[in-house]
């Protein structure tokens, strides 16, 4: 027994070193696997407040760019207004389907919520945004996040007033998207090389792809609404002869360096869909 105490006394520094290493590595691996870490909620709230103070100063320098983005978005939305569509011979008659009545609230599948970006990284292999909207304001993990120009990522962790979003520029993030022309689905991921490009995989070679074609979101990924949100444009087609699939280099239309405002999309029927899919899966087990 005495020897044990002597051993501990002699190597106390080394044992303390090992203890701290084990604590930090367990934090790290737990986070990489399940994306939950000790004190992350409390720390998220605290870093969120500091990030917000900082972004107040920083956002002044980007006002011009944000205004241009807003003007472009308004233009796009104005183009879709009903008033723009008019046949010859006066306005067409609008018919309201009375069967659904005023139950419009129940058929609305996607709810959009605005949020301000208060913190972001582009430098690391796992990049995140922090947004100033949290659990108290209706944000839940796994909701889709999109910007004015294109999709951004997915909500990962939520604290009371802040949420963290992992972006397309995160090596662990995957999302199912499709080609606008043709509709072939593939998986979008990032290879960690350049923050200006992401990779679209698993597009069959039967698809007609051209440089400059648009890539949009697919209803197959339940986090984004099926409204064909912009993802990016094809920048280069890498033809791998040993495979039946193209690997496409895509330029995301979102600028992750300067993004200031995002929309969080809530899918109100997601639990129903997940429940159905889970129960189907159980039948085959």
């Amino acid at each position: 027994m005495r020897n044990v105490f002597l051993f501990i006394r002699k190597y106390s520094n080394f044992l303390f070193f090992l203890l701290l290493q084990v604590i930090s590595l367990s934090f790290l691996f737990r986070y990489n696997k399940y994306h939950e870490a000790a004190f992350m909620n409390v720390a998220g709230e605290f870093t969120g407040i500091i990030n917000q103070r900082f972004s107040k100063v920083e956002s002044y320098f980007r006002l011009k760019q944000i205004n241009e983005q807003l003007a472009a978005e308004n233009l796009r939305l104005n183009q879709m207004l009903k008033e723009n569509y008019e046949g010859a011979g006066g306005p067409g008659k609008m018919i309201i389907d009375t069967i659904q009545g005023d139950s419009a609230k129940e058929i609305k599948k996607y709810i959009w919520m605005g949020a301000k970006v208060v913190g972001s990284t582009v430098n690391s292999q796992v990049n995140f945004l922090t947004i100033h909207r949290g659990a108290l304001q209706g944000v839940r993990p796994n909701m889709g996040v999109t910007g004015p120009l294109g999709i951004v990522g997915q909500v990962l962790n939520v604290s009371d007033n802040y949420a963290t979003v992992w972006t397309l520029l995160n090596r662990q993030f995957r999302v199912v998207v499709k080609l606008k022309i043709g509709g072939e689905r593939g998986t979008l991921e990032w290879d960690g090389v350049s923050p200006n490009y992401v990779t679209l995989k698993d597009i069959p070679k039967s698809a007609k792809v051209k440089k400059g074609d648009s890539v949009v979101t697919s209803p197959a990924s339940s986090m984004f609404s099926g409204a064909n949100l912009m993802v990016g444009t094809i920048d280069e087609i890498i033809d791998d002869r040993s495979s039946n699939f193209y690997s496409l280099r895509v330029k995301p239309s979102t600028n992750f360096y300067s993004i200031e405002y995002v929309y969080v999309i809530e899918n109100t029927q997601l639990t129903e869909q997940n429940h159905l899919e889970d129960s189907t899966r159980k039948k085959f087990q």
Binding site: Y31, R171, V193
Partner: protein
């Protein structure tokens, strides 16, 4: 200003400089990440106990981790260099008892060449371990080697600039204290 207050002030300043200036810069290349924050650990006083050094390094690393959403990554690397620091200092200390005559490692207390060897060795350990942990989740061997070399180069440059811009006057204390 007392030594404790000075170190608390530095703690906050180093984290803010790293998070809001160095990590905000657009990346030059995927191998290059400008790291400067761990200089805080290299500047801690000589007379701290090893467990004290490691505890401070752990908290310091964890603070940065919560900003970067990588809990544990920087903390592990910081604890490693805090553990190795006394070995390296003992090996490189030029004159007998310099660690008693001066407060903390600096160019004045250790001399140019030993001080920068000390910085270089610990930088290499810090980046090596950090990139190794990153490499475990993704990346290739070329990524590991390239990133360690390029990042060490950038860090050494940043530390040299910091040492020249914020020259720390070290008072000589008699070793009778």
């Amino acid at each position: 200003m007392s030594e404790l207050l000075k170190n608390i002030f530095r703690f906050i300043l180093f984290i803010f400089v790293q998070v809001f200036i160095l990590f905000k810069m657009p990346p030059l290349h995927r191998f290059i990440t400008p790291y400067l924050y761990y200089l805080y650990i290299l500047w801690l006083p000589f007379n701290m106990s090893r467990s004290g050094l490691m505890s401070v390094a752990f908290i310091f690393g964890l603070c940065l981790d919560y900003f970067m959403h990588t809990p544990g990554l920087h903390a592990a690397a910081c604890v490693l260099i805090a553990y190795l620091r006394p070995f390296v200092v003992n090996m490189l200390i030029s004159q007998e008892g310099a660690d008693k005559n001066y407060l903390s490692p600096s160019i004045t207390s250790m001399g140019w060449a030993p001080y920068f060897t000390y910085v270089f060795v610990l930088t290499l350990f810090h980046h090596g371990y950090l990139v190794f942990l990153e490499w475990m989740s993704f990346g290739s061997f070329l990524y590991f080697i390239g990133k360690v070399i390029a990042t060490t180069g950038i860090s050494m440059l940043l530390i040299l600039l910091t040492e020249l811009l914020f020259y720390r006057k070290e008072k000589f204390r008699t070793n009778t204290v």
